[in-house]
Symmetry: C2
Subunit: 712 residues, 2 copies
């Protein structure tokens, strides 16, 4: 891979954050504030991770370096910009983010990769006048070693002795230094946290508004911002028209005492407006902002993306279009009009938040003195009040989690039905695929690479009606590669899929009516007893979670232990969450709900939510196991309703056989075997009408009941 | 009960917080700050509970009132004290606390009961110039209605429309009023929270140092503070001598940069000094404070309690004795000497915290100017620093959770062995008891009351070697009374125990070597299928938790779902926690660990901790079920140790048969039946050598294996 010219592998590799995300939020993926969509908060996690004060990092000279030419030039050019008129900076931080805290980002935002050469999905570059360091986590140490030039220092985050970014800055900068960031790339919460940490060391965080400094070096080589056309998401899949959704949102505004809201998350905009975009791989979203006021809705987007069909659709929904770049002006206008503006500081970039706050301050400064004091006093009162009086004088920022996240997470009937239909076609494609793979590897003894196998899967999926894209980069991991949770097979370096090793396949599709995400682990030869024991225990966890019945609004983390306890019994575990939310024909990863050992996300599970159920077990340098279904959270009829509660359970969306060969039936209870047999009978019933010939036969064989052993 | 003169029932009823506490921390019982001993934080919970702003409460005229004479006089006398020179108060809050945030308190501290007439264990009285209100929770509505005089308003906390204390105060007081409290009865955290809430409404919280106002009315009728002699807790049960414990504590001080600590929790003092007291029922503690400095240890206690044996013991451990009342002077002395004083604000009363802070301020005010500024700057620096430099000039308050709580919670070998031994003798007493009860009720068809049955149990326990006291008031609940979680049978009003209803018995003993707490539910006739289904599901939860294996340091709340999920499957639940810590020959209720649906307690479970396992189910006006064992958290040998973790499980301490008659075996898995049979075989093996004759036969019958059914 390293021999290829820079641009292509960068694009490919950066997208590899997908697979990682698909396995439930391990590593750098986390929900912030317990109630927002998934965000890549890795940057700040690094900044805040505890570490010893001493700066210990392996010098880059000790690392392999295959392509150092030109890197120095970039660093030198960047450092020259530190002295631009009015700047006088001592350091500049380059994160992996786009301005919307997206999980997948467009090429034009891959600035950290451009400046450092390191193309992994998670990492933060920090450049001072004489040093350049890159922080990344254990998943990327090897890749970063290979990609970073000799002037870069690799900071292995989480390794003992490795400083955090702020510790390092404190060590290398003289007191009172200025650290610059692009305010569009940091959420307000993240910037505030960073500012606070730096201030304890007398450093200053400064927002560089006048263009991103990396872009000034990148120049014309920088990919253009995407302009792919937006399409209308059919009402038969969306279920609810735009006016109804906007109307509910306005109800939220009124209840909170707000008069307007800025929506910054791309999937929230796509969902609210029943639009789908094509600006980034895997996520059917378009770069845009949205402002909803009590009596108007404005979409800030490149007009090139708006087709005539979309123009009509937006007009029918009373949505005005303005250029993407005019958002800040509009935010300032809102302040001048005395708007009570709802802003979600966990996902809205600090440039927007700051623009509003500055405009508010100007508003109050320009008031005549008496009225000014009244205004300030009113504002102070408001901060203490439980509800906000929208008649109050002057503008106000209301910092609250966006109400769209939860509205989007609770799917309506049409969305659920679309998800069900998409999953059946996806299951048919997977039956085609597994039947093909078993024949090729098992009978024909063909040699296939991990990449070839993944490509073939895409071929099968592409044949299904309504297929658009994979929902993330397929994880096709044979043997030891299966133990690398974020593994991405590359043509030149990947392993073969054969009948000697376990094979883990985590993949998903974007369809017009739904989004899928499924993981199966199989052995095409004879599994070892160790592999069988581990697989059986992972399945037991999957079954225990699938069968859970629980009071409405139980936070997902309460259920996490159910998926782990069978592994814990023999001292095993896995280092990722158990379940993440999934969009309906939208992002494969969405919040605010989740099922994880991270206990801070208090979002209660509610009927209509979709989550993944994906326990796993990974034996380093040996094999990986994961069994993943998507499920709908839904009401369950219980004979009692203690405390007047509804009780919830899960309805399965995924119908793909689980390989019985990998089971140690002696470990399983009769109830667990019954679960498996019922599941397979359902798979047969639902998927067999969709497949033919050999695949039909394969499906029949792979959904036969296993015997319930007698337990003495 | 209401016909009896006031004093006796007050004492009895106030002690009834014991049973409640024994079932795992529901209702008013909670761990604060996730890491401290159990405290009765009800007062603050009420203050902070959300409620509508409107003051709606049933006037006391609408309530039964049997003994109003004299109450008015008390209120009038109290109100007169509002105008004492220098006071000028508008309201006075009288909580249920003693100065140590104890769960069980001495009679002399039962001020809220004295002033209001309401003798329940949880409740707060608030008296203004023209109103008097009492807040209590649902457990006590009926009792409070009966006991409060006509001048009192009952505030049914948690009921819609009932204001919190601060909401009510805001409503009835004019702005800028003064609300007084006795600073010895509020923890510093509680007082700060109250002060903050009141200040948002422009009211002032004032600390009335000059004696408790209720005491001034109570006068010579007020019971004298207890003076029961303290005894030495034998080293063979304590396992560790005082010098070693103090030395570890000093290590904690050094690591935190502290030079001294005030210990205020009575069980922490008893544990540290290997002393046991007799000042309150059920808890073998004595009223005292302890200050540990780097080179000295001072016990503040009434010298009357110190026997010659204890004098020698303390001298050998280099512990100096000073009068209980001299604590504040000593705290001020520490400030004057520049001590870095460790104070746990969650359990130390605000009188102590304030005394130190005031003395610190005086210290810095009295410094020469230059040195003063340096001192203040140093102090500011310290607040940001990770470690504290004990060489820094001047005194400093270090607010941290007491390190004694966790040291006490992790039992040493001798403590664990004492607990095991005490539990075996307790199990023998319970075998005696259950055999007796079955004979009397089942065969002889005798009519026994709940109180008579509890008394008989005490008789059996008293015969066991080393028995000292019950560890809380026995909950002896027949039929519908079993559904009242805090039920306390009273001779005049209690039900009978017969062969028609379920019977729930939650009880425990204090022994020289250990503390027990066990609940069993039985039916002495023919249980209904409903009762059997519920009992079986409670047992399934108990078994699932008992069998859990989990990584070290897993917070207890993670395991809580295991005890509930069998009930959730049919839409049932219980409104209390699943497990609480238990002291070794100390308080039946201790922290910091717990197993609860309250997710804020992040204390990780560690080997050597003791917790209860007590799921339940309560059907209002019908029956209650609870099955409680105590267990030791201990290392488990697992074939793997993922992530280098130790894995933990539970060792049972309680060996009392579980009534098989109440099981619906068709609901149970073979593994669950195996657990039951193994448990009973262990009960037989351990307890049969300790019982004779009929009891031996009863034990034999009640520990026979049940058949493992065949699951089709």
């Amino acid at each position: 891979m390293q021999a290829v010219i820079w641009k292509r592998p960068c694009v490919l590799a950066l997208r590899s954050c997908g697979p990682f995300a698909a396995c439930g939020g391990s590593g750098s993926f986390s929900f912030r504030n317990g109630g927002r969509a998934p965000q890549r908060t890795f940057t700040l996690r690094v900044i805040n991770s505890t570490g010893s004060g001493a700066v210990v990092a392996r010098p880059s000279s000790a690392r392999k370096s295959k392509r150092s030419e030109g890197v120095d030039g970039k660093l030198a050019a960047l450092r020259q910009l530190f002295h631009k008129p009015g700047l006088q900076m001592d350091a500049y931080i380059i994160p992996s983010q786009d301005p919307h805290q997206s999980e997948f980002i467009a090429e034009c935002f891959m600035r950290r990769a451009f400046i450092s050469g390191f193309t992994g999905s998670a990492g933060t570059a920090v450049v001072t006048k004489d040093k350049a360091s890159l922080w990344t986590d254990g998943r990327y140490f090897l890749q970063a070693e290979n990609q970073l030039g000799p002037d870069w220092m690799l900071m292995r985050a989480g390794t003992p002795g490795v400083p955090t970014i702020s510790e390092w800055l404190t060590d290398v900068l003289s007191p009172g230094s200025k650290v610059g960031i692009d305010p569009f790339l940091f959420s307000s919460d993240a910037a505030e946290e960073l500012k606070h940490t730096l201030s304890t060391k007398d450093h200053k965080l400064i927002y560089v508004y006048d263009g991103n400094l990396v872009d000034e070096i990148w120049k014309e080589d920088r990919p253009k911002p995407p302009t792919a056309p937006v399409r209308v998401h059919d009402i038969k899949y969306a279920g609810l028209d735009v006016s109804s959704k906007i109307s509910s949102l306005r109800q939220n505004l009124v209840e909170a005492g707000a008069t307007s809201i800025v929506i910054s998350m791309l999937d929230e905009i796509a969902w609210l407006l029943n639009l789908r975009g094509n600006d980034v791989a895997h996520s059917p979203v378009a770069y845009a902002y949205l402002i909803v006021e009590i009596d108007s809705t404005t979409l800030f987007i490149d007009p090139l993306k708006i087709t005539p069909e979309v123009t009509v659709h937006l007009k029918n929904s009373n949505v005005t279009v303005k250029p993407y770049e005019s958002l800040l002006l509009e935010v300032e206008r809102l302040a001048n009009c005395g708007a009570k503006l709802w802003l979600d500081t966990s996902c809205t970039n600090v440039a927007i938040i700051d623009a509003f706050h500055s405009a508010c301050n100007k508003y109050f400064e320009n008031l005549p003195k008496r009225s000014k004091q009244k205004g300030i006093k009113e504002r102070k009162k408001l901060l203490d009040a439980k509800s906000i009086d929208s008649e109050m004088e002057g503008p106000l920022a209301i910092h609250k989690a966006s109400p769209v996240a939860i509205a989007k997470a609770i799917k309506n009937g049409a969305e659920l039905d679309g998800m069900r239909q998409a999953h059946l076609r996806d299951a048919a494609a997977l039956a085609d695929f597994w039947a093909w793979l078993e024949t090729k590897v098992g009978q024909d003894k063909m040699t296939l690479t991990e990449v070839e196998v993944a490509d073939k899967l895409l071929e099968f999926r592409s044949k299904q009606a309504g297929f658009l894209d994979t929902s993330f980069d397929t994880i096709s991991g044979s043997g030891a590669n299966g133990a690398i949770i974020h593994y991405r097979a590359e043509p030149d370096t990947c392993d073969i899929v054969d009948d000697k090793k376990l094979y883990l396949l985590d993949s998903g599709g974007q369809y017009v009516d739904g989004t899928t995400d499924v993981t199966r682990t199989v052995h095409l030869g004879e599994p070892s007893s160790r592999e069988k024991e581990c697989f059986t225990r992972v399945l037991q966890g999957h079954i225990a979670l699938d069968q859970a019945i629980f009071p409405e609004n139980t936070p997902g983390f309460v259920l996490d232990v159910l998926a782990r306890s069978s592994l814990w019994k023999i001292g095993l575990d896995y280092r990722h969450g158990t379940g993440h939310g999934v969009g309906a024909s939208l992002n494969v990863h969405e919040g605010p709900q989740g099922i994880s050992y991270r206990y801070e996300n208090m979002t209660g599970l509610q009927g209509g939510m979709i989550v993944s159920n994906e326990p796993g077990y990974y034996e380093d340098r040996s094999f990986g196991i994961r069994i993943e279904n998507l499920v709908i959270v839904r009401d369950v009829e219980t004979p009692n309703r203690f405390g007047g509660n509804s009780y919830l359970g899960f309805e399965k969306l995924t119908f793909v056989p689980i390989q019985s060969k990998l089971l140690d039936l002696s470990l399983m209870s009769p109830a667990e075997i019954e679960w498996l047999n019922n599941y397979h009978s359902e798979v047969w019933e639902k998927v067999s009408p969709l497949v033919q010939g050999d695949v039909h036969e394969w499906l029949w064989k792979n959904t036969r009941p296993v015997p319930v052993h007698s337990t003495a």
